[in-house]
Assembly symmetry: C2
Homo-oligomer: 336 residues x 2
């Protein structure tokens, strides 16, 4: 079978490709080829892999040729991120909405031409929920929570979910939308995202650097490792249509954790000296954004598929340390 991963050069996309290559099969069939399309090149190991084809080009351009090419499964991860979409409205519409529509229409054209509907796994986000601060909002969001997106990014993700549900209902694709929680601990450097500190307060101290904590320690948020995300995306793609009982969107599991619990876990795993590198420095802008985010997820539909997040934040930190030992030991130079 042939698998397409959009955003295949990115953090989640590359790890998804490696996981699929490692298991060799998807949805009961041997994987012959994985096509990674992105605006950026994927890591060298993937570029060198004999079963991987790399295409560095915009997704809208990629979609123009997809009508003539058979894919059995598509993981659609390519996306402009939240901050970009707020800063550049056109970019968000084009990258997140028009590109998805073009992808869906390319897959529809193939089905109308006689092909079996492709499996499509779309990476949505708990940003669909909003919440609207003017309304009472549940602390914990889940499959039955009314989405009220308060960003262009969340709006576009929600619209794509509904498009995918309708293309699926019509039989053009076999689509599923998985709402991801915040991935932590992300390797690399801090980025401009308001959620950046959720990784930074673990990553920087482990590397021997100070990290700013811009919010109160009682802030709560659902998080999961990229391993959980990749495992979940594959499981969502391999689940039967019936397992979705008429819906296409599913909220993926997360560990509902407070910042205090994250810091306690850091101390438990790496010691008080590492923990002491986290410096509280309130940032009203970031605290204000984060205050409007969900404080946790409830995910019975994902549990019914056998999906679970890490059981503790200690586990999440240990997983990050294990990844660094293999990929980048320098990132742990602050550990005792």
């Amino acid at each position: 079978m042939r698998v397409l991963i959009t955003g295949g050069g990115g953090f989640v996309g590359a790890r998804l490709a490696r996981a699929l290559l490692a298991q060799g099969r998807f949805d009961g069939k041997a994987i012959d080829e994985i096509v990674l399309t992105d605006q950026f090149e994927p890591p060298a190991d993937l570029r060198a892999h004999p079963r991987v084809t790399v295409r560095v080009r915009p997704l809208l351009q990629e979609c123009a040729t997809l009508r003539d090419e058979p894919f059995d499964a598509v993981f659609h991860l390519a996306s402009a991120v939240s901050g970009e979409c707020e800063a550049d409205f056109e970019l968000g519409l084009r990258s997140n909405l028009d590109s998805t529509r073009a992808l869906l229409d390319a897959l529809r054209a193939r089905t109308e031409g006689g092909a079996v509907p492709a499996k499509l796994v779309f990476s949505s986000s708990i940003a669909v929920f909003g919440p609207d601060p003017a309304y009472p909002f549940p602390e914990i969001v889940g499959d039955d929570t009314l989405p009220m997106p308060q960003t262009s990014y969340g709006t576009q993700k929600l619209i794509c979910e509904h498009l995918i549900a309708d293309y699926t209902r019509k039989g053009y694709i076999d689509g599923r939308a998985a709402r991801l929680v915040t991935v932590t601990v992300r390797p690399g450097r801090p980025n401009g995202a308001a959620s950046s500190f959720f990784s930074g307060i673990i990553r920087e101290p482990l590397a021997g650097e100070d990290a700013i904590l811009p919010v109160s320690a009682d802030v709560r948020h659902p998080v999961a490792t990229v391993h959980t995300m990749v495992r979940s995306l594959i499981a969502v793609g391999e689940a039967s249509r019936e397992a979705f009982v008429g819906r296409s969107a599913i909220t993926l599991p997360g560990l509902n954790v407070s910042v205090q619990q994250m810091l306690d876990a850091l101390e438990a795993v790496a010691g008080p000296r590492v923990r002491a590198r986290v410096k509280p420095q309130h940032d009203a802008r970031i605290a204000g954004i984060v205050a409007n985010w969900p404080r946790g997820v409830s995910t019975p539909r994902a549990h019914a598929l056998g999906l679970h997040a890490e059981a503790s934040f200690e586990d999440i930190i240990r997983q990050y340390i294990e990844d660094c030992r293999r990929d980048n030991p320098q990132a742990l130079k602050g550990m005792d």
Copy 2:
């Protein structure tokens, strides 16, 4: 001020235009011109009105010129209907999604050019709710019900609601989406819609003709007259931004009524001879569709705007009779 009504040649659009002309003002300002755009000509009285401009052309073509034209308010009623969208997927996407996006982008271009954001009232539908028959569904739907559209029409309406909410949040428009219930009693002839009988079982007996009742008399459904719809659309357009407390979509009031209550009302208003012209003849296809529709609406947000549907189905029939006496007395030739 200048007002644009898309779908201005249609059943609701023409009546909305007349109501606006009759009150002479909208949103506190005198109306200088109403532009009606539709694929069909509006009725003669509107064509002849000195403050009405008629443009018979597709909305996508209309939108191409809207960037160069100031409108203070837009009522966006143009839409392909449910049956059309199921039969022709492309048509639904083009008419309901691409046209709305083009309209929103034309209004955005004006705002970015320095204009005051236009008020936009969008006619959505309770078809956004679905429901999905695989899920337990509330008998009564309302502002807090999770939409799970099960038609392309409902999907497209819901997507437009979310686009309008986001363009509004960004300050490009001042948009509102009003979810309409089934309008009854519609004048004219039966059409292919599954909801057609809700009007037919009143309209045909009053005209002296037999009418088929294709569903059980215990079917319940929310309905309202076109007068309530027009009054509600204007009120939604004139409400303050604050009255929407952070949301843009609102479910309009309806009278939650059973078919039995409709028939009893017909007998009370027009007598047993008229009532006897309704002939039960079960139609499994129509009954199956209607079984998946909401059985009623709960509309506290609309009530907070002072909006209410008719208090009884007798009132709805009397309103229809009054309309016919003025416009088309022939439609009442079956009355004693």
